[in-house]
Amino acid sequence: MLPTLNGRIQTRIFMLVVFGSIITFLITPLLPDGLPGVPGFDGTYYRITFIILATVLVLGILWELLYHLIQQFRWEKDWPTMFGLITAINEGALVWILLELGLVPGLPVGVDEGDLPSFFFWAFFIDFSVIWLFIWIWTNGPMRVPFIRWRFFGGRII
């Protein structure tokens, strides 16, 4: 990737809003909920997963500022493919810590005060990883097909 700061933020928002939402919509009914069987469509679960998605998006914009700063130390001013994947670790960990500490606002009663059960961790892990992996792959190739100017303009969409 050869992002500019503006392009980073635009790409982040576009990817999470479009693909993040679609995948969240599809995956939420399949995530473990500590009960036997598949949970299916449930408004409370959707509320949790979409709030987590929004948290990743908001924090992500702050992360992008840091990544942009790190990028300045690189002569090429590029963002290696690998970095795009491994930043899932720091970003995922931060979101999980905030969830565990009960610092993410808007979650339904029962999961809003942290101290979460282990199935919740696995549900978060699967949800987060699947979305991240899909977006990472999409950003590193297929995105160039519909948007021919995207790669030449630092990842800007508008």
């Binding site: 392009g7 090429e76 493919t81 160039r144 790669r151």
Partner: protein, 539 residues
Amino acid sequence: MIEPTAASVVPTTDPSTYLPAQPMPAGDLTDEMLQTDFWTDELVAAAGIPIVDVPFVTVGSGIGSFVTVDYLRIAGVPTSQMRVLGTLDHPWQTYEYLTRVSQIPRGERLRSDSASRPDNIWGFPSYGFAEAMRTFNLKLLWGLFSEPIFSDYYTPKAGQAFETMEREKNRIDYDQMLVKGLVRIVRRRYGGGYFTILTPPEGASATKRVAFRSQYVHLAVGYPGLKFLPELQRYRTEHNDYRHIVNAYESHEHVYERLMQQPSTVMVRGGGIVASRVLQRLMDDRLLHGAQTNIVHLFRTYYHGTNDGYGNEEDPRPGGGKTRIFMRRRGENGWAYQGFNYPKSVWGGQLKKQVRGLEGEQRAEIYKRMGGTNTPWRKLWQKQMNQGRREGWYQVLVGTVDDMQPNGERIVNHVRTAQGTVPVEVDFVIDCTGLEADIAEHRLLKDLLEHGGASRNPTGRLNVDRNFELIGTRNGNGAMYASGATTLGGYFPGVDTFLGLQVAAQEIYQDLAKRKFCKRIGPVRSTIQWWKWLFGSKP
């Protein structure tokens, strides 16, 4: 005005219809034409030059022309609306010649990014991904994932680039648009548009010249020419010796052949990618095939640590001080290391954006700062050169050559170093410095500067705008564009590269779409066209 749909290849004016009393002119340029900046239709017809109407011509017929018509074909322009004028049989002909003689035959790897595919405007799938899938090579996939941190940048094999270009050339019916011949001159037409004068191969047409009357002209004529270092040129001419002193960009296989037969010493001059490739060839021949070659490598600038285009940390630079912490690259053993011929983000990221907003001196300054001769750090080269240093057959000198004298079959170079002048006797000199000639050495460009309204940018090349329109050449509803090496120094730095040609082609397509010459490539069209590309069906 030229109606784009009215393209024809039929001469529209027959001079004999209105010049019955005079003998038929030979169809050549007249003095009057050469002295006139704007040509009328009558002026051209009176010279007996047949006129071909076509809305868009691209001059050059190399990769620059190919990539541009590829974009326009994908943007819905039929082959009948475009002509490619030039001397090449296929777009990669000159490129393949230059890479082959500078030691990148088809099986070797170029210095080009995985997603820089002249045959594919989307750069997806990248060369690397395609190669990994075709050969099911997990190591290669790992390389693509971890470059440039844990592995060298992936670069495609030259052969892969040529083969895929051939496929795309056939897909877009390139040959239907190709008109062979040498373009002599482009002049503005009175009333709008341009006349492009082509000299077809002998016997191919009834007249010496043919004029293409078009609304749009695109120039992609490539490097104006190569220049030798003055002392090398002097030696070659004075001693009539073209065998022992060679340029890396001319065929010099005889040097390697001699080295296989006889232990010799070779001086390599230059510190760029070509020097790296030539050194690898010399070292491969020594290490794998038993040549007994000693190498003297002469650097003009010796990099020993972090650097930028102004040189090493301690070298003087405007404003004083060292390299900026945010703008420095690695260097060692004489070389400045950089993956590609520009910092990667000039093709789409921060540096592209930055330069796009700079004018005049400021722009020249950033070009200077990110410039300087450099080469990629590759594991194999490091290994070979370390062995050469250890075993004493690879030696480095820093300086310039004051004088060269023959001594029997050998050449004595008087090298001026920091420690004084030393004589260095060698059997061959390979010049890898790659000096480029001035654009005015190219007849067509010289004429455009003198008669076409074109001008030079802060680095002396053709002055193009952000959309690659040649500034000062607009004529009525017509527009002239240029891309490639001749436009270096403009608002976009990486012009003389695969991806640079595509960046330029995209800007040109975009401008032509605004002028309603082609359709817009929006997300839907783009996706449909990509699938067509994938399955090899016509655009």
